[in-house]
């Protein structure tokens, strides 16, 4: 599998670490309800299909969001976290 680091370009999978759902970018407000924090920290979907995932490119230290399909393994798009949360 290959992923495109927004900083370095296309690279082999082994340069990357999977870091969970891109939901982690949507940090609740400090004073949010406990339930919102609970969902942010612990609740994740496990879809067979399109996902938005966080990946870390170890050699350069770039985080990125990959839009990927867990059923077909197709990687549709990768982008910086800033682009993903725009």
């Amino acid at each position: 599998m290959r992923l495109t680091c927004p900083h370095c370009g296309e690279r082999d999978l082994r340069e990357f670490a999977y870091k969970g759902d891109a939901l982690a970018l949507s940090r609740p407000e400090a004073n949010a309800e406990l339930q919102a924090w609970h969902e942010y920290l612990h609740i994740r979907d496990n879809p067979a299909g399109p996902t938005r995932e966080l990946w870390y490119h170890t050699p350069c230290g770039s985080w990125m969001v990959a839009e990927r399909d867990t059923a077909t393994h197709a990687v549709h798009r990768t982008m910086t976290p800033a682009e993903a949360t725009k």
């Binding site: 599998m1 290959r2 197709a74």
Partner: protein, 975 residues
């Protein structure tokens, strides 16, 4: 026997090797199998289960029988296919799975027992008593069954791995692959042409076909030379593409130097080929016909017979019979006769077949029995009007072709049945970007393969955005191919399918009767296709027989599938370079050589190596050295290398706000030149790491992390900067390796520094928790006044290139003051005496509250982990919280991992009140000391508890104390 002329062997270059110790001579270009056949040695192995004598049935990597061990000692390779292994001078080849010899194998008694050893025998027979399985049955079965044995010596790990990239990967270099590679290369695409064979050509090297006015091999050689001369083509011979992975990644095993005496070159190289497009031109594999006793040495596939004949100038026998259901049988007879070999008979299952050859011809006939023991002696056929015995010492069998579509199954693609060729073909778009063509797609004529290769390349070029240029393809044979489906001959006797695992047609029928009707069940019940050849020859036939036994069509019955790797790949190739130090590289500090020169035992800290202690003359145990080093720091001065701690340089207008978010405390208010201790939480409210951070400038901080967490903290900070606060202008740089940093600790630490710094260190200039720029021998250094020992302490940092020199200087000055170097054993004792935590305490399940640092969690600002740390349950006083522990008898050591119990309670899991995390002998306080976690700990000061270590049988009483055992008000380190 060797044919007098012809073949792609070099008769000027005889090669000598040994087979089971006996010398054998072949020619350059021979494989082990062809050279042995040339010397009339047909018996090359014994089968897995019944130890039946076997010879080669193929001339390629699909070989199930002729498995041998090549080489000796640690470099020996068991289960090597004699049909692929090229010979070289000095090669040693040993047969396998036989005792005492290949010709006489005592375990062949299994074959006499075969009526009792049918499929499922083990499952049915060795059920009871259950306890016997592991101790008795399994070891006996394992000894009786098996193939080659490993050397038992460490793998020399001499293989390599590599990456390559291309526009188009062409897999296979027969007529289709060569036409495809040429079309793509002429259009300017970057092409890799991979062939399992030693040279391009595929079946053209084995057949007597003509292309235009050239022979097949002349054309192949010319094409290979033309491709090799092009700058945009890389021809990879001896390279088998073994697997298909996501995003156009292909695994490939190159046999770099397995065809020469082991030397400098790596035996194999495992490639990851990354291709934008790929073409599958892997050809097809000839399939067997299951007739009774079809496993005797001398019975080969017809295609293999032609390969041995035309390519190696070898005939498997002097009187060769041919049996088949299609025109390949006739082609084989023609080639044999042309080479001067007697064709004993041509037996064609088709009643309407004709032959004009000068050999006995039997249309509408089948082989129903064979004779011979260690090699074929004759066969019995059933023909219209009766049976007939024919004398023959070899039999070539042409059962039709199965496209080599294995790679198209690697991403879940299931082959589809094509009735007119009675074979499975690749399902469309099975692999994104991979186009099958030629025989791999079910096109079997040479002309069809050439044209199909061009078509596939043009499709790939279109996808790549290249325009194809016209290329000339020669005229070639275009024989139609539409054989009847001939799977098995109905006659009494054992007809073998999976030759390696000894699976017969009867076993498949038995599986069907016992309701293992699914292909996957039948396969597992009978072990069909589960040998090292993965059923390349026999799986489709077994499926057809299962279909017949269950009264279904082949498509109704199911389909075969294949998983990577296509051929066995040595683990040492896939993991090349990852043994030993390659698995765990070593990181050395700048003081490493100086430490080892003093015989300091080095201990791993992640990938780093740190000195445990520095023994001096007369010290017999590590404790003696450690105790001395602790006293040295408490009473005089010690120096220690702390370079392994993570260092992260943080700069930018947003740096202060950034640190306020990642630390529980406030760093925006930290004054320039000052240092603050920081605690970092995970977002779930648990402690991630701790360390000190210095403010070097208005927008410039230097953070330190623990040794273990340096990498994870860096990734975490990058996540916060890039993912949560991209609006902050802050830049993070890991500078761990750039600075050598040494702790100077003890009452005389300042004296030591003043003996070598050009500026004078005073407590006014450098108060506790401050940093300062100074100079040593003209080299600027950073000085941090921090302490992990509880003594007056400084850490002095220099660019790493000066580390070794500064270390020597510091140790020399320390020794002149009566101090010296100390290792991490002493460092650990010093911090336990002071109640300072490490990752033994912040082990991932503790909160700031648990370690008594709740006051460090700012109430006035947000920080990572703040919300979650406030959750009910994480702040209850009954949680297990940090305490100090002191044994009632100072000689007792409460070992980390042991548990704490209320006095009088049973030491059971349910009653555990806490556990010990760190412990040491304190030479300062002359007692053992420990840190640990205890339910409601800080509220139980002075209580006597029971310490129990069930694993190491310790059981004694301890008293709960403050975690800080020494210098509780911190006066010594503040100065």
């Amino acid at each position: 026997m060797r044919i007098a002329t012809g073949g792609l062997i070099d008769r000027e270059k005889p090669i000598r090797f040994t087979f089971d110790g006996k010398p054998v001579t072949g020619f350059a270009g021979d494989t082990v199998a062809s050279a042995l056949l040339a010397n009339d040695i047909l018996l090359m192995g014994r089968s897995f289960k019944y130890h039946r004598p076997r010879g080669p049935v193929t001339a390629g990597s699909d070989e199930p029988n002729a498995l041998v061990t090549v080489g000796e000692g640690a470099e020996a390779r068991p289960n090597t296919r004699a049909t692929c292994q090229e010979i070289y001078d000095g090669l040693t080849v040993t047969s396998q799975n036989r005792w005492p010899s290949l010709r006489f194998d005592a375990m062949a008694v299994n074959d006499l027992l075969s009526p009792f050893l049918a499929a499922g025998f083990y499952y049915k027979t060795f059920m009871w008593p259950r306890a016997f399985w592991e101790k008795l049955y399994e070891p006996i079965i394992r000894r009786a069954a098996g193939l080659g044995a490993l050397s038992g010596q460490p793998d020399p790990d001499r293989s390599e791995k590599a990456f390559a990239h291309c526009d188009l990967l062409v897999i296979g270099a027969g007529p289709a692959g060569l036409a495809a590679a040429l079309t793509a290369a002429e259009a300017g695409a970057d092409v890799i042409l991979a062939t399992e064979d030693t040279r391009p050509g595929g079946r053209l090297l084995s057949e007597t076909v003509t292309l235009g006015d050239q022979t097949g091999r002349e054309w192949a050689d010319r094409m290979a030379a033309r491709l090799a001369a092009m700058g945009n083509v890389r021809v990879m011979a001896r390279t088998t593409v073994t697997g298909v992975y996501d995003s156009g990644t292909y695994g490939a095993l190159e046999r770099v130097a397995e065809h020469v005496m082991p030397g400098e070159a790596p035996p194999t190289c495992f490639w990851r080929l990354v291709a934008r497009q790929a073409i599958l031109a892997t050809g097809a594999l000839e399939r067997p016909i299951a007739f009774p006793m079809n496993d005797r040495p001398g019975i080969l596939s017809a295609a293999a017979t032609r390969t041995y004949l035309n390519r190696y100038a070898v005939s498997p026998g002097a009187r060769v019979a041919v049996f088949g259901n299609n025109d390949d049988a006739h082609r084989t007879a023609t080639d044999l006769a042309a080479a001067g070999v007697t064709v004993a008979a041509l037996i064609d299952t088709r009643e309407d077949a004709t032959s004009d050859g000068a050999w006995p011809f039997y249309p509408g006939a089948e082989v129903i029995e064979t004779q011979g023991r260690l090699r074929l002696e004759g066969l019995t056929i059933r023909k219209p009007g009766g049976t007939l015995r024919i004398g023959a010492d070899a039999l070539a069998v042409a059962g039709g072709w199965n496209p080599a579509l294995h790679l198209t199954c690697h991403m879940n693609g299931r082959p589809v049945w094509q009735e007119d060729i009675a074979a499975f073909v690749p399902t469309a778009n099975a692999i994104p970007g991979l186009t099958p063509c030629g025989a791999a797609l079910g096109t079997f004529s040479t002309a069809g393969c050439l044209e199909d290769g061009r078509r596939a390349a043009e499709a790939a070029l279109d996808a790549l955005g290249h325009s194809p240029k016209p290329i000339d393809l020669p005229d070639a044979e275009d024989t139609p191919y539409s054989p009847p489906a001939t799977w098995a001959v109905t006659a009494p006797g054992r007809a073998w399918l999976d030759l390696q695992n000894d699976v017969t047609t009867k076993d498949v029928h038995l599986a069907a009767r016992e309701n293992f009707r699914s292909v996957e069940h039948m396969k597992r019940y009978t072990t069909q296709g589960m040998a090292t050849d993965q059923g390349k020859g026999s799986n489709v036939t077994a499926l057809a027989i299962l279909a017949d036994a269950t009264g279904r069509t082949i498509p109704e019955t199911g389909t075969t599938t294949f998983r990577p790797p296509y051929v066995p790949v040595p683990i040492s190739s896939m993991g090349a370079g990852h043994a030993g130090k390659g698995f765990a590289p070593e990181r050395f500090t700048t003081s490493h050589e100086a430490s080892t020169a003093r015989a300091a035992p080095m201990i791993e800290a992640g990938l780093w190596y740190r000195p445990s202690y520095f023994p001096v003359h007369g010290e017999k145990t590590w404790r003696e050295s450690c105790d001395r080093e602790v006293r040295m720091v408490r009473e005089c001065v010690g120096v220690s290398d702390v370079s392994t701690l993570g260092k992260i340089d943080i700069q930018g207008p947003g740096a202060a706000e950034f640190l306020d978010l990642v630390y529980t405390g406030t760093f925006s208010t930290l004054k320039e030149g000052r240092i603050r201790y920081g605690l970092m939480l995970r977002e779930d409210g648990h402690v991630m790491d701790d360390g000190t951070t210095a403010r070097l400038g208005p927008q410039h901080y230097l953070m330190t992390t623990t040794t273990a967490a340096a990498g994870p903290v860096m990734a975490h900070l990058e996540f916060v900067a890039q993912g949560l606060r991209p609006d902050l202008d802050v830049k993070l740089t890991s500078v761990t390796d750039h600075w050598a940093q040494f702790a100077v600790a003890g009452p005389r630490a300042r004296d030591l520094l003043n003996s070598l710094l050009e500026e004078e260190v005073t407590d006014d200039a450098v108060p506790f928790m401050s940093c300062w720029l100074a100079t040593v021998s003209g080299v600027p250094v950073r000085l941090y006044r921090i302490s992990f020992s509880g003594e007056r302490g400084y850490e002095i940092a220099v660019p790493a290139r000066y580390g070794a020199a500064l270390w020597r200087l510091l140790v020399a000055q320390a020794e002149s003051l009566g101090g010296g170097a100390y290792g991490i054993e002493a460092l650990n004792v010093l911090r336990i005496e002071k109640g300072f935590i490490t990752h033994a305490e912040i082990h991932g399940r503790t909160t700031a509250y648990d370690i008594g640092m709740q006051a460090m969690m700012s109430k006035t600002k947000d920080f990572i982990g703040k919300a979650a740390a406030a959750r009910p349950g994480l702040t209850e006083s009954t949680r297990e919280r940090l305490v100090g522990l002191r044994p009632r008898d100072p000689a007792n050591m409460p070992l980390p991992g042991g548990f704490l119990f209320t006095k009088g309670e049973t030491p059971s899991r349910a009653n555990a009140q806490g556990y010990v995390t760190s412990a040491c002998w304190s030479p300062t306080l002359e007692t053992h000391l420990a840190l640990g976690f205890l339910a409601s700990g800080p509220e139980r000061m002075g209580e006597t508890l029971r310490f129990t270590d069930h694993l190491r049988n310790r059981d004694f009483e301890v008293t709960v104390t403050d975690p800080v055992a020494f210098d509780q008000d911190g006066g010594r380190m503040r100065g």
